[in-house]
């Protein structure tokens, strides 16, 4: 038995408060959401809360309005609190010290105090509202090295100012440095960690006690483990050198792009901190910066810089040297400039900064090589690293050669190159984090990097080069599933002067934004934008934009299942495309491709096949992106199969798509899709072993590269189960199928047509295991759902009816089997081309059954017709022979 209080008692003590500031705020938004009358605003002291900005380690930050000074402020409400009766004058007095610093690089504190929150005294800090992001988030975007150092120099000045005012920060880390939209850099939360520790300490009976007469906030613990100085972690008194240490941990992370300390184990982290720091050589980190970090990260406070101010000056010097070094290198003097690194630490050396003639290239240009090498990873990565490296090199070369341009041209070219660099960094980052969506489409994303050649000082090229690079970056992010980031890039572009001053360029960006909206499921918004752009562009006689928006509207119709709209827009798109000179084959391919998919969804397989053939024709024009060509061929193969022409589909796979062969620079995603499609084809040709192997490979590759929850992997899994069942591995098939089916239901919902098809497979497996009732239940469910989705006359309804007939026959219910097969035949005849191999399948099943009942009936005719189609469609010869043998055996005696 436990010696502590009962659980009942613990839960009673731990019961959440029925009222608090946060609850009031949540209730406020509920009243608002559900249209219940307005309430007085929640207040903190005299401030009216307008919304929540975020939740951090110390507490919740609100955006609030100060009615007396008529301005918005940020209010941080610290965790913990005091009993209502206590009014802690001493703590308040201490906290007011926080409001003492005024500095360009420190967030200004307007007011501190306690306010009553449902019977508790809680502590708040009202401060300057900085709109923007914080250093931690900003660093993730891969800013240029020079900009990073500049931000840290500013933060160092903020810390130094506070130290001069006699205040320690005590919890410096990148997330405590705010980056304003106006590029302001401001250190926030001075001393708050100490206040909070005290609030928590007083309420909970911790071991911390407050010594008499302590009036400064200099000694208490608190702070964030990884950034804490060793003395802080040991609970010793703090000095300004402790903030230096935290500052240098942050700077190390920013420079190396990796944490200095790994793991969560406090003891082992402390042990590392008590050793002199290890600073690996890295081309991106200048030696002068390494020396600075080495000093700032010394285990003993007295061995660090003499002051924060000295550290800041040394860092400014690093920046100056870096600029100078690059300038010398660019001028062809061949001096590496590293010799001056020591001077950087001298501090008393020449403070004069040499103005460079050309800015340092952004650090993002080097992102490619720094990323993939670190992650152990899936196949093809060495080539991807090379491709990214080559891209970075191209950027650097262009940057270097831009240095000879006159100032304005140089700035424009470099702006464009910086966008390309950001795209490279974003991609490197995605690969680095092992983002599934990005790895699945790895090569497509590498190819989607903005075209460096657009960043040229041509007659009008540079403006558009910049926009092209930025939209390219957004498209890349969108393709990798980073829709929010893509949106930020595009929305930023819309407010850029280059874009605002040209309708043509603005439309270009708006169309891309609509695509991001559509991918994000914001269909209505996407449609509105596209229609608007179309009409605007058409009336301006700007055919390319009009064509582009109308093609996207076709795709939009397809995605939202609005067939009529897609077909109507496809006519408009054809007209507009006819006016574009020179012809845009990429766009034409996209039009036919999407229209083919539309016909397919509408169940018009013949029309879909004709249409996709046009897409394939257009895709073979010179200059069309190989990615578009492959996608069109893939759908072509699929549609040949859907039209019951598996042998021709197989040929596309073997000759054009080379499915199943290792091909360099093919996306994992495309490989899985192709293998799946190959499997479907072979299955239709009754090459069970071939199909099984294709599905097995698709499933294995999908699990490795896309993850086991990816829908494409799930589809491969279901298909694999299907072939396992046919190979007589009933139990294994069940084990394969069940988790995948559950996964699919979870993602698509019970009613999705694909789930119904999957349930059809489950039913077939159950029937093969002899569980006739279970099979029947599943079939019924699949059938009802498909009918609800598609109506009676859709080929997938025919598929299920056929399977039901076969299952009935297996369960020895001849009557039921005949009934369902005949219905299947009717549906298939109405929905499939006459020579469709699936129609032959039903004819054959029906014929076999009819012959068993009566040698002279329609059975012979059905079987004979099936054999004819099988032959025309080049189905597996032994399969055809079986049917021929049956026909001979049942030859009526003369």
């Amino acid at each position: 038995m436990s010696s502590g209080p009962s659980l009942q008692a613990l839960f009673e003590q731990g019961r959440p408060a029925p009222h608090s500031l946060e609850i009031d705020q949540a209730l406020g938004s509920l009243y608002e959401r559900f249209g219940v009358g307005p309430r007085p605003p929640v207040t903190i002291g005299r401030y009216r809360v307008a919304g929540r900005l975020g939740t951090g380690g110390l507490g919740i930050v609100y955006r609030a309005f100060d009615p007396s000074l008529k301005r918005f402020v940020a209010i941080k409400v610290l965790k913990g609190g005091k009993e209502a009766a206590e009014h802690d004058v001493r703590l308040l007095h201490e906290a007011q010290v926080l409001a003492r610093i005024r500095h360009a690089h420190v967030v200004e504190v307007f007011d501190v105090g306690f306010f009553e929150d449902h019977g508790r005294q809680r502590f708040f800090v009202a401060m300057e509202l900085v709109e923007g992001t914080d250093l931690r988030r900003w660093l993730v975007q891969g800013p240029a090295f020079g900009a990073v150092v500049d931000a840290f120099v500013a933060a160092a000045q903020g810390l130094a100012a506070a130290h001069q005012a006699g205040l320690l920060h005590r919890d410096f880390k990148p997330s405590n440095v705010l980056m304003g939209e106006d590029d302001a850099v401001k250190v926030a939360d001075f001393g708050l960690a100490a206040v909070q520790q005290e609030l928590l300490a007083e309420i909970g009976s911790t071991t911390w006690s407050i010594p008499d007469g302590a009036v400064t906030l200099s000694w208490r613990p608190g702070g964030t483990l990884h950034y804490m100085s060793p003395e802080q972690q040991r609970g010793e008194p703090l000095t300004p050198a402790s903030d230096q240490y935290s500052f240098c941990v942050s700077l190390y992370e920013a420079a190396y792009g990796a944490p200095l300390f790994d793991g969560e184990d406090r003891a082992s982290i402390l042990a590392s901190k008590q050793q002199p720091p290890r600073l690996p050589r890295d081309d991106r980190v200048p030696r002068s910066l390494r020396h600075l970090l080495a000093l700032g990260l010394q285990p003993r406070p007295e061995d660090r810089f003499e002051s924060m101010e000295a550290l800041g000056q040394a860092l400014a010097q690093v920046r100056a040297n870096k600029k100078r070094w690059w300038w010398i290198g660019a001028a062809g003097l061949g001096v590496t400039g590293l010799g001056v690194a020591a001077a950087a630490l001298g501090l008393r050396g020449d403070p004069e900064v040499i103005e460079p003639s050309c800015p340092t290239p952004p650090a993002s240009f080097d992102r490619g090589s720094s990323t993939l090498r670190r992650t152990a990873g899936p196949t093809q990565q060495p080539e991807m690293i090379e491709a990214l490296d080559a891209y970075g090199t191209a950027l650097r070369q262009r940057w270097d050669s831009s240095c000879t341009l006159e100032h304005r041209a140089q700035a424009r070219v470099q702006r464009c190159l910086a966008q390309c660099g950001d795209a490279l960094a974003a991609l490197g980052d995605l690969f680095d984090r092992g983002a599934r969506d990005a790895l699945a489409k790895g090569w497509s994303l590498v190819r989607a990097l903005p075209n460096v050649h657009r960043c040229a000082p041509g007659d009008e090229g540079w403006d558009h080069g910049f926009v092209a690079a930025a939209t390219g970056r957004a498209k890349l992010l969108a393709a990798a599933g980073k829709l929010a980031e893509a949106r930020v890039v595009l929305e930023g572009l819309l407010t850029d002067p280059v874009v605002m001053h040209s309708d043509r360029v603005r439309r270009h960006v708006e169309i891309e934004l609509a695509e991001v909206d559509a991918s994000d499921g914001r269909y209505a918004a996407a449609q509105k934008t596209l229609e608007h752009t179309y009409f605007e562009a058409a009336s301006d006689g700007e055919f390319r934009a009009a064509a582009r928006s109308s093609v996207f509207l076709v795709a939009h119709g397809y995605r939202t299942g609005n067939i009529q709209s897609a077909i109507q827009w496809s006519r408009t798109a054809q007209t507009q495309l006819g006016l574009v000179q020179p012809r845009d084959y990429d766009l034409e391919t996209m039009l036919w491709h999407n229209l083919a998919l539309t016909h397919m969804v509408a169940g018009d397989l013949g029309e879909a096949l004709t249409t996709i053939r046009r897409a394939v024709e257009h895709a073979s024009a010179p200059g069309v992106s190989p990615h578009l060509r492959e996608a069109a061929l893939q759908v072509y193969a699929e549609l040949l199969l859907f039209n019951g022409r598996p042998a021709e589909a197989l040929e596309i796979h073997q000759t054009h798509l080379q499915t199943g062969q290792a091909r360099p620079q093919r996306d994992a995603m495309a490989s899985v899709v192709n293998l799946q499609s190959l499997g479907n084809t072979l299955m239709t040709l009754h090459d069970l072993e071939g199909a099984w192997a294709a599905y097995r490979d698709a499933y294995a590759l999908g699990r490795e590269m896309l993850g086991s929850t990816h829908l494409q992997t799930v589809s491969a899994c279901l298909s694999l189960a299907w072939t396992q069942g046919d190979r007589g591995e009933a139990e294994q098939a069940r084990q394969t199928l069940e988790p995948c089916l559950a996964q699919m239901v979870q993602q698509l919902g019970e009613e999705h047509p694909n789930v119904s098809v999957a349930r059809g497979i489950a039913a077939r497996l159950a029937s093969q295991r002899g569980e006739a009732d279970e099979a029947w239940r599943l079939f019924q469910r699949a059938l009802e759902s498909l009918r609800r989705n598609y109506g009676e006359s859709h080929y997938s309804v025919g598929d299920v009816l056929h399977e039901m007939g076969v299952a009935r026959a297996r369960a020895e219910d001849r009557e039921g089997a005949l009934r369902h097969l005949r219905r299947a035949l009717r549906v298939r005849e109405a929905t499939l081309p006459e020579q469709h191999v699936n129609r032959a399948e039903t004819l054959a099943a029906l014929g076999r059954l009819e012959l068993e009942l009566d040698d002279t009936g329609p059975g012979r005719q059905h079987l004979a017709e099936a054999i004819e189609i099988f032959e025309a469609r080049q189905v597996d010869p032994s399969f055809i022979q079986e049917h021929r043998d049956l026909l001979v055996a049942k030859e009526p005696s003369p």
């Binding site: 436990s2 613990l10 009673e12 731990g14 509920l30 559900f34 911790t206 071991t207 964030t224």
Partner: protein, 200 residues
């Protein structure tokens, strides 16, 4: 029609579904804090939005409503919707598949430790609860704080009643063990957890 504190949850929700804003007001005031607290102990931010979604689900639902203590009680309906929304949210964060019978809130979002607040005893309990599988945490909280019956909890976490009984017993034992272990660790460690590294 006027609604007051004596009107049952079920009557209020029925009236709300028919468009009665006063009923909505009374019900939000009555159940809103409970709903908020349900989410606040499991997500770092966005509890407001989750509350809205869960309540909207309850209003949109057209299923039967019954008295408290039964599987059709309004609280039961509300916490069922809340759990669904919670799982959906946690699933968005987690990279691997989410099994609420196995994974804990702390597994799925290590940042959760940051939002622990209040006296030591309470923080100890909250930290321990977050280490339990999500459904075990939900079951215990609903049992102790909301006084939901086993029948109601069974519906919320979508498990048969006998299984819920067993799960509750197991969760109690697990929680007991964790709290006793935690007591061994110095107060200082627990104290520092409140402001530890954000990256988890």
């Amino acid at each position: 029609m006027t609604w007051d504190e004596q009107t049952s949850d079920a009557m209020l929700l029925r009236a709300w579904r028919e468009g009665d804003k006063t009923a909505a007001d009374v019900l939000i005031t009555r159940l809103g804090p409970r709903l908020y607290n349900f989410f606040a102990s499991k997500v770092v931010d966005g509890a407001d939005a989750l509350c809205q979604q869960a309540l909207a689900d309850c209003v949109a639902d057209s299923g039967p409503l019954g008295p408290d203590g039964t599987r059709h009680s309004v609280r039961c309906l509300m916490f069922t919707a809340a759990r669904q929304r919670l799982l959906q949210r946690l699933g968005e964060r987690g990279s691997s598949s989410l099994d609420p019978g196995e994974r804990s809130v702390a597994d799925l979002d290590p940042r959760i430790d940051e939002v622990v607040d209040g006296p030591l005893q309470r923080r100890r309990l909250l930290l321990a609860l977050r280490q339990l599988p999500v459904d075990a945490q939900v079951a215990l909280e609903l049992s102790y704080w909301e006084r939901l019956t086993t029948e109601e909890i069974a519906r919320v976490i979508e498990r048969p009643e006998p299984e819920v009984e067993a799960q509750l017993a197991r969760a109690r034992a697990q929680l007991r063990g964790m709290i006793d272990d935690e007591r061994e660790v110095s107060d200082r460690t627990i104290d520092a957890r409140g402001s530890e590294d954000e990256r988890g």
